[in-house]
């Protein structure tokens, strides 16, 4: 009897505590509970621009309190899959969708998909060579040869020729690449495919590829860690990561013959130069762009938006956001070490927004 009574009292405590705690004073309630007329927009995709998008959606919410944009960085592959499946309102990808994926989208959702570049990214070569302190110059052939495994020693004429006066050792080059699928790899392999036919035929471009040689590190951190630890190694990392972590990197020769050191303006210049011959759907690779000031290993990252959005409020919210992103949003880029879109591309995109119906 006593036991049952005790059990009864204890069981009663649960609903009682719940009742007591429900009466929360108003000022403790969360600041931004969505009101019934908040427009909720869901997006998913690329991890590279996530810090930028995160800041943008936050800033945009401050200006337009009735629009809440939710973004999950599940990866470019995931973003493409979810937009085709229709579970999100927009996707994001570090590489443009292939013809096949666009066809898949058309079959699944009955309309076309539009690409909108948002920011620019770039890859830089980082290395760890005994006795070499300064910046090395890399020609297109050098990078392709190193990653193909045809150039095996640091004092190979292709590398030494571009770095006269630097004492390069005769040691074997240890090649480091990304083990996880990533937009960073996409940019790197896209560049190598452009500057080397052998690379294009043998390996190709993608977020994951069949690397001829090399060790794989996970993420920019993994690659940097391996390069730092392994003597005579070379790897590639995102420019932003290199800037934020003070990682020394080398120069790459662009198509005009200049050894360009990657920085935000060089990346934007690459896009500006490429904009002259850019197709209207923005599905273009800007690696190895023409122009003296262009950094050759640069790339866009895109938002994937259907050209027909049924819900009128969502459509207005998305098009408004795009306009804001192209004007006010771009101002936030430098703060987070992203390269902003050049004016030529912004103008073209503004015109393209009208395609969303």
């Amino acid at each position: 009897m006593k036991k049952t009574l005790a059990l009864f009292i204890v069981t009663l405590l649960f609903p009682l505590t719940a009742l007591v705690l429900r009466a929360k004073p108003a000022h403790l309630a969360p600041a931004r509970t969505p009101s019934p007329d908040t427009v909720l927009i869901n997006g998913a995709g690329a991890t590279f621009p996530y810090p930028m998008y995160s800041k943008w959606f936050d800033e945009y919410r401050k200006v337009h309190t009735d629009v809440q944009i939710n973004y999950q960085s599940i990866g470019s592959g995931g973003g493409i899959r979810q937009i085709i499946a229709g579970t999100v309102d927009f996707g994001a990808s570090d590489g443009p969708m292939t013809e096949e994926q666009i066809k898949q989208f058309k079959n699944a959702r009955g309309t076309n998909i539009l690409h909108f570049p948002t920011v620019l990214g770039a890859d830089v070569p980082t290395y760890n060579i005994a006795g070499v302190k300064g910046e090395l110059n890399f020609t297109q052939k050098a990078l392709a040869g190193i990653y193909l495994g045809t150039i095996t020693k640091w004092n190979d004429p292709e590398i030494a020729g571009a770095n006269k006066g630097v004492a390069l050792p005769g040691d074997d080059i240890v090649v480091i690449h990304r083990s996880d699928g990533s937009g960073t790899t996409y940019i790197w392999t896209d560049y190598l495919s452009k500057v080397s036919d052998e690379w294009k035929n043998k390996v190709g471009k993608g977020t994951s590829v069949n690397w001829p040689v090399g060790l794989g590190g996970q993420g920019n951190e993994g690659v940097t860690g391996l390069v730092k630890q392994t003597p005579n190694s070379i790897g590639y990392v995102e420019l932003i990561y290199a800037i934020q972590n003070n990682i020394p990197y080398g120069r790459v020769r662009n198509s005009a013959g200049v050894f360009a050191k990657a920085n935000l303006s060089g990346v934007s210049t690459a896009a500006a130069e490429a904009a002259k011959s850019m197709p209207d759907d923005f599905r273009v690779s800007i690696t190895d762009a023409p122009g003296k000031g262009a950094y050759p290993i640069s790339s866009f990252t895109w938002l994937l938006i259907p050209d027909r959005i049924a819900d009128a409020t969502k459509k207005k919210a998305i098009t408004d956001f795009l306009r804001w992103m192209l004007t006010d949003g771009q101002k936030d880029c430098e703060g987070l070490a992203y390269a902003r879109l050049p004016q030529e591309v912004v103008a073209k995109e503004m015109k393209a927004i009208s395609q969303i119906q």
């Binding site: 699928g181 993608g206 794989g216 392994t230």
Partner: protein, 316 residues
Amino acid sequence: MSSWTPRELLRRLRSGDEIAHLITLICASSILLVTSMLVYQLWVNSQLPRHEFGWHFFATSVWDPVFEHFGALPFIYGTVVTSFLALLIAVPFGLGAAIFLSELAPRKLSDTFAFAIDLLAAVPSVIYGLLGIFIIVPIMRTVVEPALKKTLGFLPFFKGPAYGVGFLAAGVVLAIMIVPFIIAVSREVLLVVPQDQREAAMALGATRWEATWKVVVPYARTGILGSVFLALARALGETMAVTMVIGNDPKISSSLFSPGYTIAAVIANEFKEATGDLYLQSLVELGLVLFLLTFVLNGLARILIVATEQRGGPAH
């Protein structure tokens, strides 16, 4: 069991025993249900590569997401090699430690150690991965691999450049991870060996060590084998710690210094960004392969345990 009609069953369920029987039966079959759903999902979602590649999937060494040629061989090789290397290192250490803790150490020391070892078994694998990158890989590259090369460099296992990362580093990290399991279970099993077994051995003139090694350990053989296979199961599925130290290169090589790749590591690395159905489903098929590998190895474990049980140990 006279009749299976619902009315009959409901009538039989009146006693508490029957209800308990039914509830526990549901619990047990729910495990089976989850496992079969898992296999079903793996099977159904790997349909494309099974039709495209068939059995060639197991014989191809290429993993090319761009030209869409996929083969499981380097990953199977990597998984098996790292796991067995880990066992090779962990079993002597683990068994030795278990024997010490159960037979030779004072009880208090044994209990404290056992507690510490149980804690080790609970450490998340990412921590072991960090231990691998920051401590084990540099030691491998600067001390262990050059030493092995100098002394045993004529063997095919110790040829090639010493990167630090590779099969050897992965095997060592996995060994550190699975040793607590072997010690914990083996120690328990050795402790429950009846005291009269030891006394009988010593009465027959055996030394302390002879009694331990020739009588007590064989008596506990089944349990020790069980602990080894438990450790093997952990090693086969280990993902994060392995991918941080194995070099992530899908190549097959006889040298332990060369980088490799395991099934769990490639799925963890490439699943998120995989675009294209064939690519994605090939990764799922790799998952199915790992499941089957674990299943087969556990089956072998069962057979081995049954076989050794028949030859000696506790009296039936």
